[in-house]
């Protein structure tokens, strides 16, 4: 694992207005993450996992403190700069796959590259590479409705990886999958993490996911209560 820092938070605080008071979702988070980490944010519901994922993914901004992603302060980014950061450098994997139902597997994966105005030939190569990583080159013309849950999540992984992002954020990616598919998905992501040096950050409380993680950051009431680095291979 390389140690160059690509994510850094300093005294990160996030509050949400609830009625006349504020709810503090993150309360002074200090974290540093390096390139190629395979880390998980774990903790009970309401502990701040998704909020932290939102800020790292430039979907939200801190109330106080700073969050740097790839050297950029999230608080200082305009909407357009946030969108560009997501489009070029951050991949997202959702619990419910969130594929575009009217488009084929190929087109779903291709979509992120269309926004980058890549040439047709480069786009095709990148899409086919991504589908090869997840083993779905034989399903390029299939619509999401024709795929199993595991296959849909593999398409979602290909979609997040096709642009070769530095960071992939995955929110409960195995929650809708059975054990066999969960392991398959996690193994795929682990291989990509190792080969492409992509940093994966999970928000999860799935024990199956935790077995694959190199680092487990436990959150509770918006604070980091435990930051455990696991070096041994567990799979």
């Amino acid at each position: 694992m390389e140690n160059s820092s690509i994510i850094k938070t300093e005294n990160l605080i996030k509050r949400f207005p609830v009625g006349k008071t504020d709810f503090t979702a993150l309360n002074g988070i200090n974290l540093t993450m390096g390139t190629g980490e395979f880390a998980g944010l774990v903790g009970p519901s309401g502990s701040g996992k998704t909020t932290l994922l939102n800020i790292i993914g430039s979907l939200d901004t801190p109330s106080e403190g700073t969050a740097y992603v790839l050297g950029k302060s999230i608080s200082l980014l305009t909407h357009a700069q946030s969108a560009k950061l997501r489009n070029h450098h951050i991949g997202f994997i959702f619990q419910t796959y969130n594929l575009l139902p009217v488009y084929t597997v190929y087109e779903n994966v291709e979509f992120a590259l269309l926004l980058q105005k890549m040439t047709g030939a480069d786009r095709k190569k990148a899409v086919m590479d991504a589908l090869e990583w997840v083993g779905l080159t034989d399903k390029i013309y299939s619509k999401p409705s024709m795929l199993s849950g595991g296959e849909c999540q593999r398409v979602a992984i290909a979609r997040s990886m096709v642009k070769r992002p530095e960071i992939v954020l995955a929110d409960e990616p195995t929650a809708n999958l059975d054990s066999k598919n969960s392991h398959h998905i996690l193994q795929t992501m682990k291989v990509l993490n190792r080969e492409l040096k992509t940093t994966f950050i999970f928000a999860t409380h799935d024990e199956k996911v935790m077995k694959y993680l190199d680092r487990i950051i436990s959150l509770d009431d918006g604070k980091v209560v435990k930051d455990e680095i696991l070096t041994a291979e567990k799979y």
Binding site: T50, L53, L59, H79, K84, N98, L100, Y103, R159, D171
Partner: protein, 424 residues
């Protein structure tokens, strides 16, 4: 990206089919109703021009003021000379004389005694000259029920209703009683050459048609005529040309101090025809305004429903790094494509319907036969070049406007809630 959007539109029927149907239906109605209303107004104007107003009409100033009373004592004199000058000065127009008169029709029995009488609403036109366009203009030939057009002096056409009421047959004699233009009593016997039914109570009530020369002779109107009507040779009323002709004529012939001096009126100066013409010309604009407003509201709602249905899609696209303005832009682009497709379909259907109605018409003869108003019995649409864009552009504009309003919701979307929203 356009290819990508097109694929989405074509594959997602709820995104394309419903809006296209809505737009096409709106455009169809706009095109069809515009052509229909334009046709109806044009026909009414045309009918009025042919029967009563001409494209321009010349009367004496006094006759014009009292024309409902058919005051032939105030008729124009020296009409031959006046017509010659008109033909010379306005060669692209046709000039015809008309005399309207009232009276009594008497139907004698075989002994010459009165068998029946009824009021007559007489019209004298040029029925006998070779090449006269008056029978065709007044629709006399097509309105013949029995017999034929007069072929000789002393022949008349009478209303078929009158003929049936008094059992008058073709070849029978009838006597017309009235007064000459000098106020003397007039009676003249005519042979019935045919009977007429225009399908309009206004025209059929006691109608008698005789040749203009017979009328001049009977009414002591030698070289006189109640009216001279002018028609543009292309048969289309042109208000600017009519105004020019009117101003030129009145400047030369009309005198405010002489009530017997001839005065020319345009079609729009008579019988409220100005309002009809204005409505005819503005019907397209009225339809467009109604269409754009109504369709924008409908498509706004359609867009809102589509936006709700595509809530997840927009969320995914935001998460994948698409900017809100880009999503909004593609929504507008989709609206343009759907608007164009829907408007093309609607315009084609509207023109098809208009063509059918223009070619075959809608015969309302049985409905209008007892109406007092002079309206066409066959309703026809009128296809004009404007129909090719009158629905098309508003169709596209309404679609874009509706979707632009609905799409504003994209800007209210908070990216910070995307993970939660997309977990459902």
């Amino acid at each position: 990206m356009i290819k990508f959007i097109l694929k989405g539109i074509l594959r997602d029927r709820s995104r394309s089919l419903l809006p296209v149907i809505v737009v096409a239906a709106g455009v169809f109605l706009t095109v069809f109703l515009s052509s229909y209303l334009s046709g109806v107004f044009s026909d009414m104007i045309d009918l009025s021009a042919r029967f009563t107003t001409g494209h321009v009409k010349i009367m004496t100033r006094a006759y014009a003021e009292n024309q409902e009373q058919m005051p032939n004592d105030l008729a124009l004199f020296n009409v031959s000379a006046l017509k010659s000058e008109l033909i010379s000065e306005y060669p692209d127009m046709e000039w015809v004389e008309r005399i309207h008169f009232g009276g009594l029709l008497d139907v004698p029995d075989e002994n010459g005694e009165t068998r029946g009488q009824g009021p007559a609403a007489g019209t004298a036109i040029d029925l006998l000259s070779s090449g006269s366009s008056e029978p065709e203009r007044m629709n006399v030939r097509k309105s013949l029920v029995k017999g034929s057009l007069p072929a000789n002096r002393g022949e008349a056409l009478i209303s078929d209703d009158f003929a049936e009421k008094f059992d008058v047959s073709v070849g029978n004699e009838i006597t017309l009683f009235g007064s000459t233009m000098n106020g003397s009593m007039m009676f003249k016997t005519f042979v019935v050459s045919g009977t007429l039914r225009f399908g309009n109570a206004f025209l059929d009530r006691g109608a008698v048609f005789i040749d203009i020369l017979d009328a001049q002779e009977a009414l002591d109107m030698n070289d006189a005529s109640g009216e001279i009507l002018g028609y543009f040779n292309d048969r289309e009323y042109n208000d600017l040309k009519a105004l020019s002709v009117k101003e030129k004529f009145n400047a030369k012939y009309s005198s405010i101090t002489d009530e017997f001096s001839p005065e020319m009126l345009r079609l729009v100066d008579q019988n409220d025809m100005g309002q009809y013409l204005m409505m005819s010309e503005n019907v397209g604009s009225i339809m467009i305004i109604i269409f754009v407003l109504a369709m924008s509201v409908v498509l706004w709602n359609t867009g809102l429903l589509g936006g709700l249905r595509r809530y997840s899609e927009y969320g995914i696209r935001l998460a994948l790094g698409e900017e809100k303005k880009h999503i909004y832009g593609t929504t507008i682009l989709e609206a343009v494509l759907i608007g164009i497709i829907g408007s093309l379909v609607g315009t084609a259907l509207g023109l098809g319907g208009a063509w059918y109605l223009q070619t075959y018409g809608l015969n309302l003869g049985s409905v209008t036969q007892n109406m007092g108003m002079m309206i066409p019995t066959v309703l026809r649409a009128k296809i004009s070049p404007a129909l090719f864009y009158i629905g098309f552009f508003p169709g596209v504009i309404a679609t874009v406007l509706g979707n632009a309003l609905a799409g504003l919701a994209i800007y209210k979307r908070k990216t910070s809630r995307l993970f939660k929203e997309l977990e459902v």
